[in-house]
């Protein structure tokens, strides 16, 4: 910063940058300022010009524009067919299956994960060993194998008799009737998901400071209360981003449910691709865009959930994207005005 008269000035300027957003001041020219009788400390510093950054930005914009242009004009992508397929009932039905399977597996997987994580952290060596083995096995076995195995479960067990959970052994089911494709898909994905969720939850619980456990214990808070109100809310701060990551993986894992004869979003596109073989490419694009939309929605939800669990963890909450955009715009405006003033 050769034009900067001294460090005292730049320090002061950095401190007051935020004020300048709301109250753009009239800017003294740095070169002429010493002639005025204004004290140095009262002056604003002109930001450093960065031409390299502008050039890089321009290059990137041109490349992006070319890619977009290519996407639009290349006949290979058949955008008219894309438009035809995007809201077709068969695609939307597939989307519905994807959402249903994902939602159920995400919830069941998380609940299962919490139970297994508690098992992993339990004092009982048996519970620890069983839960460790579960995680080890389910993370090792490919999801496809889990699905195929469950789908053909009836080859191994013709009937299931159900005891305690549904009441004292009231009946036995014909397994193949109980296990509809949807049930099989949700169970398969949940079993798989629970193994990963268990590690995420366990990591979250371990990330909570030991002092928190001690403080809760010293206050004599009941065990369940300690977990639900003290440990879990703090653990969720680190669980959330990891589990959302897991969830996005899960959304895409649902494309394997055709192994249990269920048509999710991808399956629907696949099967339409063979009936209408000329439309394979636009169908794949339809699927891609839908997955992009789903992931975006999840990311937005993640942002707000994380913000919620950040209460108290930082001195002030991070700004929302809208707040950031507003701040960025007014920042830009101030800068332009400042540059223009020179």
């Amino acid at each position: 910063m050769s034009e900067s008269p001294g460090t005292a000035v730049s320090l002061d300027a950095s401190k007051t940058t935020t004020d300048s957003l709301s109250t753009p001041l009239e800017l003294p020219d740095v070169d002429t300022a010493p002639q005025r009788s204004e004290p140095l400390a009262a002056q604003r510093v002109l930001p450093l010009r960065r031409p390299g950054r502008w050039i890089a930005t321009a290059v990137v914009l041109v490349v992006v524009a070319q890619i977009v242009h290519g996407l639009i004009t290349n006949s290979f992508y058949q955008w008219d067919r894309f438009a035809y397929w995007f809201f077709r009932p068969t695609i939307l039905d597939g989307l519905g299956i994807t959402l249903e399977v994902t939602a159920l597996s995400a919830v069941l997987g998380l609940l299962g994960g919490i139970v297994i994580a508690l098992g992993r952290l339990s004092r009982s060596p048996v519970l620890r060993a069983v839960s460790w083995t579960y995680v080890w096995a389910l993370r090792s076995i490919p999801l496809i194998v889990v699905l195929i195995f469950l789908y053909n479960f009836s080859a191994l067990y013709k009937t299931l008799s159900v005891g305690v959970p549904f009441g004292p052994a009231f009946f036995s089911f014909d397994e193949s009737r109980l296990a509809t494709d949807m049930v099989v898909a949700v169970i398969g994905l949940s079993l798989n998901e629970a193994a990963y969720a268990a590690e995420v939850v366990r990591g979250g619980i371990l990330s909570v400071d030991q002092g928190q456990h001690e403080a809760a214990a010293a206050l004599g808070l009941p065990k369940g209360y300690q977990f639900r109100k003290i440990v879990l809310p703090q653990a969720l701060r680190s669980i959330t981003p990891n589990y959302v990551n897991q969830l996005i993986g899960l959304i895409k894992s649902t494309s394997l449910v055709f192994y249990v004869s269920l048509f999710d979003l991808f399956g629907a596109a696949q099967t339409m691709g063979s009936t209408y073989p000329g439309d394979i490419v636009p169908l794949l694009l339809v699927v891609t865009v839908w997955y992009l939309i789903l992931t975006s929605i999840v990311s937005v939800v993640q942002f707000y959930v994380e913000r919620y669990y950040a209460r108290g963890a930082t001195r002030s909450l991070p700004p929302t994207p809208l707040q950031k955009l507003r701040a960025g715009l007014s920042d830009l405006r101030t800068r332009i005005r400042r540059e223009a003033a020179v």
Partner: protein, 340 residues
């Protein structure tokens, strides 16, 4: 130690999870999953070639139950009142043999249609089950499916576990990009130096691998075989030039070539071949678990349909008359075991 969770809270967690699982079961059980494109109505008619996306001509055929053939069925099947027909065509369908029709939700195709005709002869209600190709066979093993009508080729290898009633010739074809100058001309030597894709675990794969071995032995340029997860991926590879040709069932390839005409992915058929190698005509057969006692009644039902004309009309409706057989046989000789 305060760091650990008590067993009591753990048990509570498990109970809650179980409750949710129960709820989910209850919800999902409400959805039905049977949607047959064709039904046998009270008057004894079966409509074939429905919703075919122009692959077939919709035709209504008269079929009535034949008591003597029904009597041959195993008691369990008779008692269930339905014939569970397996179609191993997931995730991408296999038009015109088995695929989702032009209403974009119903299973149609020449194979399920024949299954329905056979069910009508048996006096049973047809029930479709779609699955992946692998699950089709596991489904036969586990009893989930009674009989597969899914372009299954009769081979000696498969006879170890399954029994067959043949119903159609197995003709294979090679499909290339429309602008490709290459032709098969019935001579495998033309494949030297080419890259060809084939379905994993299929009969045509065995044939292709045999050609590959022969070419290697003769010191010709090698034939490269590539596999893809499903036919859509195969066709993407074909149109992008990653493979020179796709070797598959003739009806599928003919449908694909017809449907892509005029699109950027246009293709054509570059030659045909019998599905049982050079010495034998390959046969497509209705497939049931070995010793299930279904092959005989299946063959009798198909022969009944051949004799009474419905068989010919069915093939004609699907433009497959060229693949007609004179009669259905129980466990006819298939692609030999040593053919690999």
């Amino acid at each position: 130690m305060p760091t650990h969770m008590s067993r009591r809270s753990l048990t509570r967690g498990i109970t809650a999870a179980t409750a949710v699982a129960t709820l989910a079961t209850g919800l999902a059980a409400c959805g039905g999953d049977s949607d047959a494109a064709t039904t046998t109505d009270a008057a004894g008619t079966v409509t074939v070639g429905r919703l075919s996306n122009a692959a077939a001509t919709e035709t209504t055929l008269k079929v009535s139950e034949v008591k003597s053939i029904r009597a041959e069925l195993p008691d369990a099947v008779k008692k269930s009142g339905k014939l569970v027909i397996g179609s191993g065509t997931l995730p991408s369908g296999s038009p015109p043999l088995g695929f989702v029709g032009s209403d974009q939700k119903t299973l149609t195709g020449s194979e399920p249609d024949l299954g329905r005709l056979v069910a009508a002869v048996f006096g049973l209600k047809p029930e479709e089950r779609r699955s992946t190709w692998e699950n089709l066979f596991i489904g036969l093993d586990s009893g989930k499916v009674d009989v597969a009508f899914s372009n299954v080729t009769d081979t000696e290898e498969r006879k170890k576990k399954y029994e067959f009633a043949s119903y159609r010739k197995d003709d294979l074809a090679l499909e290339v990009k429309k602008d490709s100058a290459w032709n098969f001309d019935g001579d495998y030597e033309n494949l030297a130096g080419r890259t060809v894709s084939v379905g994993n675990g299929t009969n045509q794969e065995k044939i292709l691998l045999e050609w590959k071995a022969k070419l290697a032995k003769e010191g010709k340029k090698p034939l490269t075989v590539k596999y893809f997860q499903d036919t859509n991926s195969t066709y993407l590879a074909l149109s992008s030039g990653k493979i020179d040709a796709y070797f598959g069932p003739n009806p599928n390839l003919a449908y694909h070539a017809a449907k892509t005409a005029g699109t950027p992915q246009a293709t054509r058929i570059a030659g045909q071949f019998s599905g049982a190698g050079e010495r034998l005509q390959g046969l497509i057969a209705a497939t049931a678990k070995k010793d299930s006692g279904l092959a005989k009644p299946l063959a009798d039902a198909i022969n009944y349909l051949i004799k009474n004309g419905q068989y010919g009309k069915w093939l004609k409706a699907w433009n497959l008359s060229g693949e007609a057989v004179a009669e259905s046989e129980v466990n006819p000789p298939g692609l030999p075991l040593d053919n690999s």
